[in-house]
Amino acid sequence: MSDPVSFGPDLAEVFGPSQSDGGPDLVQLLTPEGERVHHPEFDHDFSAEELRGLYRDMVLTRRIDVEATALQRHGELGIWAQLLGQEAAQIGAGRAMRPQDYAFPTYREHGVAYCKGVDPLRLLGLFRGVDQGGWDPNENNFGLYTIVIGAQTLHATGYAMGMQRDGVVGTGDPERDSAVLAHFGDGASSQGDVNEAFIFAASYNAPVVFFCQNNQWAISEPIERQTRIPLYQRALGFGFPGIRVDGNDVLATYAVTKAALQRAREGNGPSFVEAYTYRMGAHTTTDDPTRYRLNDELEHWKLKDPIERLKVYLRRNGLVDQQFFDDLDAEAKELGHHLREGCKALPDPKPMDQFGYVFSEMTDEIREQRDGFQAYLASFESEGAH
């Protein structure tokens, strides 16, 4: 037998061994223990006000998630896609955006929606079955939730190509220069659309930041089923930089996304941010993670909770007092009330209205079907009158 033919470099030598803690390239500004650390490239001088704001955003985002999960348990929602554990990734990314920047979400970006000013109540419509995304995407620069995995990354890239043609990239005017944030997950990284989005964005140097929340699980499939190398390292193969950031560190996700968006706005093209995080909840409320993963893993990640570490930091540095927590608690309760009462009051869609949504103007064919359906329904009413 001859020796095996040598074919290219050993991948382990190029990429390093697999690291469950995120590896040596992980950008972190706040450790799980709440220690502020500094990074030579990605840092930001956070004011006390900013830090309290980020903490508040994460607490309220968790509250949205907890309330919606409870509403599903009470039968008010058909299903809910939980974000528990991903608050820092979403708030850091969401707050790094400027009003003129546009976000394209999956169906789990509740924290980003909150940052873009979408009423969280609007998010429930899709999961309650009263609409399929009832907000106007152009009102808040927040696209509709997209359920087909990865499809929105192409929309994001096309939108960014539109920005280039509108002359709002690389002008040097911070009020004008714009970029797109494309959200997706580790599972989506296997999709053709995501890879095509990378290629289009690289080819046209489009101002888009690909923001991947690697929460380690695509329903039951671990990240090892999607990739043999760290995801952020794939970016280089497409011709743009990739950065791995601690997705449970809101300071780091904010600083890295801000830099990536700025780079895009200035006309320097796309980049890839892998927010290394963990889906502490189930995939959705219909999922049962105990069938495929060990509780030890969850316990390990609970120690890295994104909200706890900032709380420790704020307290230790005397940046908050009890009044702050009391006020925030009251605000969260108010938000919960808004969601509970608002959800139950969401009107059911009207069957007759649906015919009018298919096209910009109703066709004669659809009008005939609507009228026929209406006449059919009316026939029962007149029967009842006899």
Binding site: A151, L154, G158, D193, E196, I199, F359
Partner: protein, 327 residues
């Protein structure tokens, strides 16, 4: 008034140019549409005149082409994308069916998707596999899409402009075997008929033949041949496949009592099946015979040396007409 004799390829090229002049939000995108002018030269010269930002050579990825068009439409553009050949539309099928067709509905009408997806379709050019297909029924079956097919140079010129100006997504089918075939006289000062209308292209009284795209020519030839045998066929170019414009069809069938529909696509669950069902509902008491369909057999497109055996031709159309009389 200026008139000139043009081919379908020229008509489409001139129509695209007009649309781009009329609205600077109109963008063209596709594989090889720039310097080359497209493999069929439909976009010839447009990149040179409108620049690389408006006539965009795309990477070789159909889902990417259609998916980025969705994003451009959200940004306020009116993308016109070219799918190089009918059989290559399937990688983009998900974006077309799940995104392009549904975005307006998903947003409860708040978002418009003014995207035109141009697809050269049909056979007859002696091509290899995947270059001769007729996928129209798959798109006509999808709510949220409009589907039209042009059959001649003059329609090509007007219909492409109308499709681009329309606020909903349009699958625009172009009979590729006609691109560089017959010329027709274009009067560009004329007022075109509305986009979503069918049209009687030959008046007749004995039977109605329905066709669209490449089979309109086949149907007209069949009508000529029938005339020499003393039979007077009415030919209707459907032009729009979704929505269908059935009023002229019903009017015709109520007069003739007989109807044959022909298309290159497979008969099973094809456009002909839907049209026949509607005619049966609306013209039941006028029909002297069942509506007959002439199309492809339910097999993948054959090797090109025998494609003419497989495609509907003059004789098969006339055979069907005869059968409606024998009924």
């Amino acid at each position: 008034m200026t008139t000139q004799k043009i081919t379908l390829a020229k008509g489409l090229n001139m129509g695209l140019r007009k649309a781009m002049e009329a609205d600077d939000k109109v963008l063209l995108m596709g594989e090889d549409v720039g310097k080359l002018g497209g493999v069929f030269r439909i976009t010839d010269g447009l990149q040179k005149d409108f620049g690389e930002d408006r006539v965009i050579d795309s990477p070789l990825a159909e889902s990417g082409i259609v998916g980025t068009a969705v994003g451009m439409a959200l940004r306020g553009y009116r993308p016109v994308v070219e799918i190089q050949f009918d059989g290559f539309v399937y990688p983009a099928y998900d974006q077309i069916v799940c995104q392009v067709a549904k975005y307006t509905y998903r947003s409860q009408g708040k978002v418009k998707m003014p995207i035109v997806i141009r697809i050269p379709f049909g056979g007859g050019i002696g091509a290899v596999e995947h270059h001769s297909e007729s996928p129209e029924a798959q798109f006509a079956h999808t709510p949220g899409l409009k589907v039209v097919a042009c059959s001649n140079p003059v329609d090509g010129y007007w219909m492409i402009q109308q499709a681009i100006a329309h606020d909903d997504p349009v699958i625009f089918l172009e009979p590729k075997r006609q691109y560089h075939a017959d010329k027709a006289e274009l009067d560009d000062s004329a007022t075109p008929e509305p986009l979503f209308t069918s049209r009687v292209v030959r008046a007749g009284s004995d039977a109605t033949v329905l066709a669209y795209g490449p089979t309109v020519k086949t149907a007209l030839k069949a009508a000529e041949a029938a005339e020499s045998e003393g039979r007077n066929l009415e030919v209707i170019d459907l032009r729009t496949l979704s929505p269908l414009d059935m009023a002229p069809v019903y009017e015709s069938v109520r007069r003739t009592g007989r109807c044959v529909i022909t298309h290159e696509a497979h008969v099973n669950l094809g456009m002909g099946a839907e049209v026949a069902a509607r005619i049966t509902e609306q013209c039941f008491y006028s029909l002297e015979a069942p509506v007959l369909r002439v199309g492809a057999f339910d097999m993948p497109y054959p090797p090109s040396r025998i494609e003419e055996e497989y495609l509907p031709d003059l004789d098969r159309v006339l055979d069907a007409v005869d059968r409606t009389f024998a009924f």
